[in-house]
């Protein structure tokens, strides 16, 4: 039987047929090893450690947003849920003196509860309407925080959100130290990415992509689409909240403006540039774009323009994003060999 050449779209979204798993695993291991060795590699340069920490935040944020994307949804509520995690942890510390180790899980629980509650109505909407509805959710969260200024400090924000410490007698770590915080951020970010990788790699991931591909069929093979959407969305929001708490204790200052629409937009840009079909996409996208953004800082007024040019160029010249590069190289090599 002759099989016809597939459409370009089907080839670009090769969800069924990604890179060989072994190669994938080596790439992940190499990345993680590099991450661990990074502080030494940059000879403990404080500023470059800061860049590393920023990358960890962005990776966690983009990866968790990508988890929602695997359900076929683009959520702009992400910055809002990040704010819930950040504010919960920050306020528990500054008002009650509870450390981040309590504040972060509580923030995650609160964000999870909020995500479940809001997604019951939210999941009625689809595609670009969902996008706008989730955007509304994010804006309302941000502005509600600003509105209740007695509790949250309003636009003034929250100051002195100290980094946590560990005091176990012989082992004492103060995360105010940049290296310590770097490893904290990297470990939490790695856990988040690992969780998302596992979710995506398991049947849950298959369910997500089924819903994303064809909601109607997914429903008619017995998948409870609504339930899985709510669960997936909630998990992603919990991760966003954890990232938010981590962000708050590193920045030591947050205000509603820290969680405006651009936070969500940049996470989305990271995903698009990195690639949409594997969790490697958001990871690579967040890493490379954060580095580029930091580098462009010195170009002043041209920073944003150059960022825009890079964004458009990637979308047009590298459809499928950075994650397709290994496949392209492999195909190119194979092409050369066979010819």
């Amino acid at each position: 039987m002759k099989v016809e050449q597939g459409t370009a779209a089907a080839q670009a979204d090769g969800k069924g047929n990604a890179a060989p798993p072994s190669l994938n695993r080596y790439a992940w291991a190499a990345l993680f090893a590099f991450t661990l060795a990074y502080p030494a590699a940059v000879s403990f340069d404080n500023y470059l450690l800061h860049v590393g920490i920023t990358i960890a935040f962005n990776v966690a944020l983009a990866a968790s947003m990508w988890l929602i994307w695997s359900l076929g949804l683009v959520s702009f509520a992400h910055a809002g849920f990040m704010a819930i995690g950040a504010y919960t942890s920050a306020l528990l510390l500054t008002k009650l003196g509870w450390p981040m180790w309590i504040g972060m899980p509580l923030g995650a629980i609160l964000a999870g509860a909020a995500a479940v509650a809001i997604s019951l109505p939210l999941m009625r909407t689809r595609a670009v309407y969902f996008f706008m509805a989730s955007w509304s959710v994010g804006e309302v969260i941000k502005r509600t925080i600003a509105y209740f200024d007695g509790l949250t400090g309003g636009w003034n924000g929250v100051f002195d959100i100290l980094p946590p410490t560990i005091d176990l007698g012989p082992i004492q770590i103060n995360f105010a130290d940049r290296i310590a915080y770097y490893y904290l951020a990297v470990v939490i970010c790695a856990i988040i990415v690992l969780c998302i990788y596992r979710i995506n790699d398991s049947r849950t991931g298959m369910i997500h992509w089924s819903i994303s591909e064809n909601e109607l069929l997914a429903e008619h093979i017995g998948i409870n689409v609504f339930k899985h959407k709510v669960i997936g969305f909630t998990i992603a929001c919990v991760f966003a909240a954890v990232t938010g708490a981590l962000y708050a204790h590193y920045q030591t200052f947050i205000s509603p403006k820290s969680f405006d629409i651009w936070k969500s937009e940049f996470a989305l840009v990271h995903i698009i540039v990195g690639g949409l079909t594997t969790v490697g996409g958001p990871v690579v996208g967040a890493i490379s774009l954060t580095v580029i953004d930091e580098t462009l800082r010195a170009t002043g007024p041209f920073r944003v323009i150059l960022f825009g040019v890079i964004l458009i160029a990637t979308v047009l010249l590298l459809p499928g994003g950075l994650e397709t590069i290994p496949g392209r190289i492999r195909r190119a090599l194979r092409g050369r060999k066979s010819s």
């Binding site: 039987m1 002759k2 099989v3 016809e4 050449q5 597939g6 459409t7 779209a9 089907a10 080839q11 979204d13 090769g14 969800k15 069924g16 047929n17 969780c195 596992r198 979710i199 398991s202 049947r203 849950t204 298959m206 369910i207 992509w209 089924s210 591909e213 064809n214 109607l216 069929l217 997914a218 429903e219 008619h220 093979i221 017995g222 998948i223 409870n224 689409v225 669960i231």
Partner: protein
């Protein structure tokens, strides 16, 4: 006890009544044909039974009332369906399509999947084996790793049926499985339908190709304007004047 029974099933869209007081029973192991001119309400009937459209009246599966259940719950009751337009997870491989179709029989649990427990791994191995069996059964064994979108139309339909079969239904509702197929493809599709029935699965079939209908159906129900105008064996239907009248009114549809 009937496998599927509808009592006074009615579906309305705004002011239009698409299905009007339809009562129907399908027995076990039966192949039931559902025919009628365009707009007679055949696909609407499928949509109502499979839980996609809200309806009034009663739908029973093995005497359990399933009216008002959602599509995924209906599938869990043993009623699977295919769609008139090829409906697949197009970017998935064929195998993955069918494995996704195994959802209800996959022993899936969120935590098991996340942690990759031995049991989950065993389950997934079973799923893959079962999916390959189903693919072999429908004759797609050699194409398991193709991307679904890359297959020709006729094979995509077969994949659609394989996906529906993966939920191990007691009854399969096929919506025009032979649409757009040539004679040879139609013949192998008819053959496949018979073999599915041979495994003990009942079938309701919407089809415009009268040769298929007359060739494989045990019983045929004829709908027009949402109501049942005739029911019986192929021979009886061929003799029925009301059916001829309905089809003469829109001759083009009967081709």
């Amino acid at each position: 006890m009937h496998l599927l029974e509808t009592r006074n099933l009615t579906v309305r869209f705004g002011g239009v009544t698409a299905i009007d007081n339809l009562s129907l029973t399908v027995g076990e192991g039966e192949i039931r044909g559902l025919i009628g001119p365009n707009g007679a309400g055949k696909t609407t009937f499928f949509n109502a039974v499979s839980g996609r459209y809200p309806s009034s009246g009663e739908i029973r599966v093995r005497d359990h009332v399933v009216s008002g259940l959602k599509p995924n719950e209906i599938v869990a009751q043993g009623l699977a369906r295919t769609f008139q337009h090829v409906t697949l997870f197009k970017s998935f491989s064929v195998l993955k399509n069918v494995m996704a179709g195994c959802h209800l029989r996959s022993g899936y649990s969120f935590w098991g999947a996340l942690l990759g427990t031995p049991r989950t791994r065993q389950n997934e191995a079973d799923n893959e084996r079962r999916a390959r069996e189903i693919l072999d059964f429908v004759g797609l064994g050699g194409l398991a790793d193709e991307t679904a979108a890359n297959l020709p139309h006729g094979l995509q339909r077969a994949v659609g049926i394989a996906v529906a079969l993966a939920s191990e239904p007691q009854m399969l509702m096929l919506d025009e499985p032979c649409a757009g197929m040539n004679t040879a493809e139609t013949r192998s599709m008819s053959d496949l339908i018979r073999r599915i029935r041979g495994n003990g699965t009942s079938i309701i079939l919407i089809e415009h190709d009268m040769k298929v209908i007359m060739g494989i159906c045990d019983q045929i129900t004829v709908l027009n304007f949402g109501t049942k105008i005739a029911e019986g064996s192929p021979e009886e239907i061929l003799r029925n004047t009301a059916v001829h009248k309905a089809y003469l009114g829109s001759a083009a549809d009967a081709s």
